[in-house]
Subunit: 334 residues, 4 copies
């Protein structure tokens, strides 16, 4: 369950306590120029350390171990590794036996019997660095096809004026609290025809990819939840000879891309680690009060932007390779 | 791409123009009592014909072809078939070359070159009967584990008073229009621990399963999009010795079930087939006006309820089987 | 575990005690003429009833339930069903608790706890009818690509003169015994380039497909076991401007097709059901003597020919679709 | 196509021209003591440098990058890397455009258009080091279950007296030639019940795993090809109260393990690289004579032993995890 995709298959590995994390990409097309410099900038965007984020200095440096020869992909598996640094596992010792509210502590404990056990170190946000590295490779593939992906924070704690984001976040942080937000990702230049009925729909794949990011509690495409309150005559996208006259569909109809921009939004919950005191229990079932101090992002939505872009890129490149396969089979009259 | 699930694998087949549709389930546990009578009631709930739905008389009768011996499942593949009846394909002739707004006509045409071509007949809602039949079997499995699944329409065109649903729908229908709605599905009795990091998360699987239903444009779990506007102190679910004190998480933390009720909501767009005239184009690129008459549900959200229940049941039974596998591997010290 | 293939995916279902067996094919290319008449002849070749085979009158009639519209495949799943007839399950009652030597009775009992339980009815040769039906569809796809598949019995109990096969078989049968044999299958017209390193090799797939047929105990490609006794200078296939000068490789080098004929041979063990008395035990561990009477083929190798052809066809069509996908991805510079 | 297994999933990466090769194992049970010292000895056995093998000094050192915490597996993906050394790619320059007989040069060229292109560097025997590393981990898992795997060369160029192997090999080498051989692998301590009908049979998986090793042209289980010449009364394994009285079946009946030792043999072709002059063509279709000098093993069968053991171990551990999953599902009455 550490592999994503069917054609452009990404397997991530690594946890914060080991020497490195990384990803193996199987199915990357051959002949594409690729070096670490194509991946590093996106990793840097995910890195903590900005004024509104955690002060940890994760200087992630990616290295390509295989799959590139004389500067070009060979079609063999790409192995990407990112050495771990700045690991302060002692920070967490005090919380070893307490279930932090809103965290996966309780569910991992119920599933695995102990918290660090299988998957324990994988639940941290650190694993997303490997996804971002793989997503950066996917973006290089898409770029050659004229497809671009972008993301932005739409709102923070309901506030949609970007000038106000910092104020809202600092206010919460000062109060020992945290805030949620809404992130939008878009993909432009998509050909019509991506996605496969009935269990390989493009929107279903996007939903899984984005909901699978930690802290995401909702995904919508195009008009999304707003569509539930509309009339058919309002929500349908009419066409004229120039194409679609609107994009309520968000670029997907019947699970297949329309060629219009793909637009998806995700709901990011507030960072569960807060300094305010909270009621919880420990592994012995004793009631406890917990106040979580340490280097935590007060608004994780900000750092999720490149992760969401990466996941959208992975979905689209996978659908693109799938479509190539099917299109040819058809065209050939095979 | 017509197979769903990893352990409880459902492959659906069939289109409205053929003799039958159906599903093959590979991975259903052995020794479970099962007959057509366990499946038929859920199929009947999906059937059109109610006062607010399409007048088509689809009297779907399911037959079990394999996998049951002396009234019990044998663990071999279950083949379920539902013969087709009341096929009036001529109804659609007038629309053969026109892209109906909000439908998959355009995307299928772009993908396959012709509308009836691969997947054409599969995009209709009829395919969901096979999903519901398979879901009914999944529900039988879950029932034996003390798990129940239920669904309901929460709102129609923004109206959340159920007494008003019929009024809102008839009003739109009388105007030649249609309405969207929000459907909620819940699963109770879930053990903690279902779902697998990092690409097999339970909420990611739920999102894919529900977004993959035609007309669904958004999925949220627990507090969902509402969480984006909350503070961490508001959204975190505190615990005391009796368990969680709230369920903002909707039963999933870190992609793994908490043991609390799973709560998911979906946004269903208004039925795209409406009598009102709409601007569109045909396959030759000519601008056209189209008014769609025929037997269409003015609010598809109503009939989606059993389909959403079926998909949620399929996700949960698959996660349950996955968990059994892993749990043992661990416990045995293998 | 009832699905074969990655692109041309075949899921078989059904057991002898139910109303029907069948197969669902997901991934069959669209636009190919197909009717029951394309499948029936191959099924008829597998049918028992010849002078040297079991006298059971299995008149298997295949029906296509989905995936064909106006005589052509649509690209949607093809569901094929074959109703069961002539089921005499009482024949087996006497053996209910005895492990027949050479049969799967013991292993199924160890695996499932009871013999009819999961998979029980699936271990019979009857399941191969579904494979043959699916293989016949694969052969239609291959035929359009100029690829043909053929099979033959090479030897029976070591006797390689076909004129003597009947004598050898009747002799064993008269003595209450049975005989093994060697079957060869060939595929001609194969393009070079099928198969994928490193775990998707064509010869590995052929080996799995053929070894997975009941009663097969060995698979070899080209020179096969003979190659182990050769020098490199004897076994290498030299080339001149016209192509390969020999085919010791059997059409596969490095797991990828060379374009030469694919040649594979399988070792088929003697039918385990024999009238001669044999020592065995029953489910209670008591020592027993067993003599198996009934309608059994004295040489199962004869009836395996179309099954082996079907499996080879399924492997090749899957590799062909895989290759199409990859070839394009490369060629496009994607 | 660089992933092997369904539960214990091994993805290999790397080619001889890059900085490292390696493997990621997803699905290794948690809580098992594991360090590099458990893997290194098996890697050393595969290493060239013995008196009868290539003089290349590949000092493969494995490093575990993830999945181990405080000396025990955590259940998260294990990333193993082996840095490359002693790469002399210039050795091969002279052969750049010539298809070496018996090699994958021609098939890769036909498949990918250029030899170093996708998979090029993956066809070398070097990739098997990653398989052996992963196999060593599988063997550790099996060891805890009381299962052991062993292998041996049975014959070289038809000579079955081990004392004579060195003579036969040196004789061929002195003549500028090479020899094939037969390798046997065995697994003892296997529980009855591994393997799944109908497309997940244990013998089918073994066949694929072993045939997928470069230079292997045949696989047989138990009596293998010999069974084709036997009578049923000779080939059936009788039982008494103590168990099976013989093991013609090689430990597998009906695709499921019997509990007896698993015995498989593979035919290894002579090393295709020989100093003797051979007729071939180049990429321009010109006829050429080629004599391959360099550091080549005159009998690759010797070095295949640990690779075959590794692949058998991977198949068995995967079947074991599969069986755990199913067994529980059944036992629980789920």
């Amino acid at each position: 369950m550490n592999t994503f995709g069917r054609h452009f298959r990404v397997t991530t590995f690594g946890e914060s306590h080991g020497p490195a994390i990384g990803a193996v990409i199987d199915g990357c097309p051959a002949g594409m120029p690729l070096s670490e410099a194509d991946i590093q900038p996106m990793l840097d965007r995910r890195r903590p350390g900005g004024p509104l984020s955690s002060p940890r200095a994760e200087t992630d440096r990616v290295e390509i171990l295989s799959g590139v020869f004389e500067g070009k992909t060979t079609g063999t598996p790409l192995a990407l590794i990112i050495p771990n640094r700045d690991v302060r596992s002692h920070d967490y010792d005090a919380l070893r036996e307490v279930f932090r509210p809103g965290h996966a502590d309780y569910t991992y404990w119920k599933k695995y019997g102990l918290r660090d056990h299988r998957g324990g170190g994988r639940s941290s946000g650190r694993e997303t660095a490997a996804r971002v590295a793989a997503g950066a490779v996917a973006l290089r593939v898409l770029e050659r096809e004229g497809i671009s992906v972008s993301g932005a924070v739409l709102s923070v704690r309901g506030e949609s004026d970007p000038d106000r984001f910092a104020v809202v976040i600092r206010e919460a942080q000062a109060a020992g609290d945290s805030v949620g937000g809404i992130v939008e990702v878009r993909a432009a230049g998509i050909p019509a025809g991506l996605g496969s009925p009935v269990f390989g729909k493009l929107d279903a794949a996007i939903a899984a990819a984005l909901m699978g990011i930690g802290a995401v509690k909702g995904v919508e495409i195009g008009e999304g939840f707003g569509a539930a309150a509309l009339l058919g005559s309002e929500n349908n996208d009419a066409m004229d000879a120039t194409g679609f006259l609107s994009n309520h569909a968000g670029g997907v109809l019947g699970g297949i891309s329309t060629g219009a921009e793909i637009v998806a939004r995700i709901a990011v919950k507030p960072t569960p680690s807060i300094a305010l005191s909270q009621r919880t229990v420990d592994t012995a079932g004793r009631e406890r009060e917990v106040s979580i101090r340490g280097r935590h992002d007060p608004c994780i939505a900000l750092r999720i932007v490149p992760v969401a872009e990466a996941m959208l890129a992975l979905v689209i490149v996978d659908a693109l390779l799938e479509e190539r396969a099917y299109a040819v089979n058809d065209a050939s009259g095979l």
